[in-house]
């Protein structure tokens, strides 16, 4: 991936994101959410984690969340350790 996108990390919002939703969704929704992994948390929320190629992709994903009527709690960029 990084070979094909030689831009600095963070440009265009490219990177790994963590999206927290209210309620528990099982992993069968993974394909629907563009391959993000779903993890159910003990507080009744679900965490979606996965790569986003740019802002448009992120907004598309959030729209899918919105379309299902799921309550969105937070969106975070995952900062990987700098090499």
């Amino acid at each position: 991936m990084s070979e094909r996108h030689p831009m600095p990390r963070g440009h265009d919002g490219q990177g790994r994101y963590e999206i927290r939703l209210q309620g528990q969704l099982d992993d069968s929704w993974s394909d629907w959410f563009e391959g993000f992994t779903l993890a159910n948390e003990s507080d009744g929320t679900t965490t979606l984690t996965g790569p986003v190629i740019d802002q448009a992709a992120l907004h598309g994903l959030l729209r899918r969340v919105g379309n299902l009527g799921v309550t969105l709690i937070s969106v975070n960029v995952l900062r990987s350790r700098q090499p």
Binding site: G23, Q24, S28, W29, D31, N67, L68, G69, V70
Partner: protein, 901 residues
């Protein structure tokens, strides 16, 4: 044939008998409508009953006032094409009042505003109160469409109310409307079912005695989310252990939709579940379409039973032919299909695409082919749809599709490749055109061993015309690059290839030849070519563009010195334009500008001003983009003739901003016109800066393209001599003018020659050699008199007045010279006099005044002028003030006395 308008998108959803009445919400909507607020906005996520509430409100409004009219538009992603959106918007309004929007749809052009303006005027004239509903507005992402809705809101007639339902807040000026009390707003918090509503809903849905505690638990768990409650009800139906279900559901942390959809789906018989999953790829469902996709018969019955069972199937017409799944349910089904049968998704889309193609619905056929990533199929359907799409002007749709196709698929279809080349050309990406054309040309030329073509484009009209179009687009690229020799080569190639019946191809090729001739100063050749363009365009039925050629013809006839012929062409074209009725052809306003310039030259300044006022009144949509600057140029010359040089300069600056380069050779650059005014104004330093910026010198080789600039330079040299007689500029001017005269005479440009001769006379006059100056002046007068030139002399002012005096004394052309001297005396006064009132009426006000003298009603006059009633009232108020009257008849009477009308 145009792209079909789908009636299902305009269907007003029928209120289901089992829906829960929501009087508290309907009352708020009713109140908003009655208090005259502009916009109702229902903004909440999916499954909150937005559409159902709107239908309940509409039914209520119609019951209370049977006269109220309703237009409903269910938007989809495809509506991000502005012309498609407009078509549906008008179609929805026509459901409310069939007389609306007939003109709006007929209007040409790429801009929304003219069409919207006429539509808004139509609605304002309608006697009906209209509610226009735009459902699923969150799908609109195109900015020009959002701008159009803002424009509509800003100019909303009082008899129109707009209602928008959206899953997310639309990018409209909601805060402004809210602050101005123009907005009725319902949000998720308002739409959630109260425990009482939940109880009624569950009671209607399931035949069970639920305890108040059960209802409260379900309402709390779903937070009043209606789709959740509906799924819960479906899960409880025919279940023996209802309390077990409620316990399990309310005790679970799982997302409501996830938990319940699984429950509901699992409780369906296998065949129903299969049907739901397989048909979930469809945006719309009909029996025959579902039969084709599932490969099974009986889908119509299946859909009816799904509707009966409340399984989230929404009817899209009242004959139970088309349905859709509730968006939320469709998403759940698609996610399940993707999980359980990912291998089948593409295949299902292809089956849908095939059905749509068989049923002549190319848009859906393409959408499903693209969803299946079956690009070969998509490309074939797109290519077949090109003629239809072109006629419906839905180019945005086509271009969006093309960006989704891989290049190698486009390269195998020369028809698509050439269409891509055209779209690059109009987008101004000239570099991208030739590579596309070359690939297409190579594909056309390659054949298999048995002589059959190896490309994929289907045989037919489009393919047959392709070689001509390739040559024409190449000529266009050469034109954009200013390469005259290349224009000729490609335009002549196109003329060789063109078939007798291909009038558009012939017209385009002749047009490029004409432009090439024009740019090289072969004006006779240019006139011949554009006469042919005009004939071809008329044969092709394109009246607006045929009339537009008049302007090009006149632009060449004027330097040829054929003013009368140019004027006749304009007058005939305006007659033809009038025969076309309403709306006027797109070039009509430009024709008035052209005629105005000729009338001005002949000294008829009032008539010239009147044509400019008419042109302005016709508005931008009666004008071609490439001509829009011309009004300001013409008005500047008029101001110049009135001696208002600052106003003229300001108008020319506006003209520079509007000028679109590349359409026509720039034989009269606006910057040179400004320089001429500076020279007349004595601002020689400004003019000198312009000369050096343009790299002009009296020793330059001459070409027609620079004739106007070189004549301007000669003017500057003469002015420099007047400012400082020791300056030797006058000799340079004389040499330049002699060479310019020879070039103009060689090219048959009598019009240019007259101006050059006048300047030659002025140069001699500036040297005090009056007797010698009379020779060129006499030649100029002799050439000018038969065509009725006036301003070409009068605009020179004082220095020429002296020479004309000497001419009169010498008895040369006495009548003509007397007329010229008279005109020059008037110019030094206060411009055109407009009757004996202290504050003269503007041209616009005079126009309004003439309309006030007719039988037309106020709204009819406003329509005639393309302005709102309010603007007309403002004009009328000013007119009454200036004429010191209080009524329309009095104004007409006073104006008649004053000789104003």
């Amino acid at each position: 044939m145009a792209m079909p308008v789908l009636a299902t998108k305009l269907f007003i959803p029928v209120l289901r008998p089992r829906a829960v009445p929501r009087p508290r919400l309907v009352e708020r909507l009713r109140e908003g409508l009655h208090s005259g607020r502009k916009l109702t906005l229902i903004s909440a996520p999916a499954g909150f009953g937005k559409t159902t509430l709107l239908s309940e409100w509409i039914a209520d409004a119609r019951r209370r006032d049977p006269q109220v009219r309703v237009g409903w538009l269910s938007l989809d992603e495809g509506d991000n094409d502005p012309s498609r959106f407009l078509t549906y918007l008008v179609s929805a309004l026509q459901r409310a009042d069939p007389a609306l929007g007939l003109e709006a749809l007929a209007l040409p052009g790429t801009s929304f505003d003219p069409a919207l303006t006429t539509l808004i005027n139509d609605v304002a004239q309608s006697s009906s109160a209209i509610i226009l509903v735009l459902d699923d507005f969150q799908l609109i992402e195109d900015e020009s469409i959002r701008d159009a809705v803002v424009f509509l809101l800003d100019h909303l007639p009082s008899n129109l109310h707009l209602a928008i339902a959206s899953r997310s807040d639309p990018l409209l000026p909601v805060a402004r409307l809210r602050a101005g009390g123009e907005l009725t707003e319902l949000r998720a918090a308002d739409l959630r079912f109260t425990p009482d509503e939940a109880a009624v809903f569950l009671g209607k849905m399931v035949d069970l005695d639920l305890s108040a505690a059960d209802v409260a638990a379900l309402d709390a768990r779903t937070e009043g989310w209606i789709a959740g409650l509906q799924l819960a009800a479906l899960s409880m139906r025919d279940r023996s252990d209802v309390s077990g279900f409620i316990e399990g559901f309310t005790g679970s942390n799982r997302f409501v939709l996830d938990y319940l959809a699984e429950e509901v789906l699992q409780r369906q018989p296998d065949e129903v579940r299969e049907f739901l999953l397989h048909t979930s790829v469809l945006n719309r469902l009909s029996g025959p379409l579902c039969d084709a996709v599932t490969g099974q018969a009986g889908s119509s019955e299946m859909l009816e039973s799904l509707e009966r069972d409340n399984l989230f199937v929404v009817p899209l017409d009242d004959r139970r032919r088309w349905y859709r799944y509730h968006h939320l349910f469709a998403d759940v089904l698609r996610a399940r299909l993707l999980r359980d049968r990912p291998d089948r998704v593409s295949e299902l889309h292809v089956l849908a695409s095939e059905w749509y193609e068989r049923n002549d619905l190319p848009e859906d056929a393409v959408t499903h082919a693209l969803a299946a990533a079956d690009f070969g199929r998509a490309a074939r359907v797109i290519e077949a749809a090109i003629p239809v799409v072109r006629k419906s002007r839905q180019d945005a749709t086509l271009l969006r599709w093309l960006t989704l196709l891989p290049d190698e698929v486009i390269d195998r279809r020369p028809v698509l490749g050439v269409y891509c080349a055209w779209s690059s050309l109009v987008a101004g990406d000239v570099e991208a055109v030739e590579p596309r054309l070359r690939v297409a040309e190579r594909a056309l030329a390659t054949t298999a061993d048995d002589g059959t073509p190896t490309h994929d484009s289907a045989a037919g009209e489009e393919l047959r015309m392709l070689p001509v179009m390739i040559a024409v687009y190449r000529a266009a690229v050469a034109q954009a690059r200013g390469n005259v020799a290349e224009i000729r080569v490609h335009a002549e190639r196109a003329l060789e290839l063109v078939e007798p019946a291909d009038h558009l191809g012939r017209g385009a090729a002749a047009g490029f030849l004409g432009l090439a001739a024009w740019a090289t100063g072969d004006l006779e050749g240019g006139v011949r070519a554009f006469r042919e363009v005009r004939t071809s365009l008329l044969l092709a039925g394109n009246v607006a563009d045929a009339l537009g050629t008049t302007i090009v013809l006149a632009d060449m006839l004027i330097p040829l010195g054929r003013l009368r012929e140019a004027q006749r062409s304009y007058e005939q074209a305006l007659l033809q334009a009038a025969e076309q009725g309403e709306p006027p052809p797109q070039s009509t306003a430009d024709l008035h500008v052209g005629l105005s310039e000729l009338l001005r030259e002949r000294g008829e300044l009032a008539a010239a001003a009147e044509h400019l006022a008419t042109s302005e009144a016709l508005g931008e949509h009666a004008s071609l983009h490439e001509n829009r600057h011309r009004w300001f140029v013409a008005m500047a010359s008029l101001r110049e003739a009135e001696g208002q040089l600052d106003a003229a300069l300001e108008l020319l600056t506006t003209a520079v901003g509007l000028h679109r380069r590349g359409f026509f050779p720039e034989v009269r650059p606006i910057s040179a016109m400004k320089a001429r005014i500076w020279i007349a104004h004595g601002r020689l330093a400004d003019a000198e800066a312009w000369v050096s910026g343009r790299g002009l010198s009296a020793a330059d080789d001459l070409s027609y393209l620079r004739e106007f600039e070189h004549i301007t330079l000669a003017r500057l040299l003469i002015a420099q001599h007047r400012a400082d007689p020791r300056d030797r500029a006058i000799e340079a001017a004389a040499g330049l003018l002699d060479r310019l005269l020879a070039a103009a005479e060689a090219g048959g440009r009598t019009g240019s020659a007259i101006e050059i001769l006048v300047l030659r006379a002025l140069a001699l006059g500036a040297q005090g050699r009056t007797a010698l100056a009379l020779q060129p002046l006499q030649r100029a007068l002799a050439l000018a008199e038969p065509e009725g030139y006036l301003r070409i002399f009068a605009d020179e002012g004082e220095p020429l007045t002296a020479l004309l005096g000497a001419t009169a004394d010498a008895g040369i052309l006495p009548d003509y010279v007397r007329r010229l001297r008279q005109a020059m005396r008037q110019t030094t006064g206060d411009g055109v006099s407009l009757g004996g009132i202290p504050d003269p009426l503007s041209e616009r006000e005079l126009h309004v005044l003439r309309l006030l003298a007719t039988e037309l009603s106020g709204p009819q006059i406003a329509r005639e002028l393309y302005v709102s009633l309010n603007t007309l009232r403002t004009h009328t108020r000013h007119i009454f003030g200036k004429l010191d009257v209080n009524s329309r008849p009095a104004a007409v009477g006073r104006a008649t006395e004053l000789g104003l009308i």
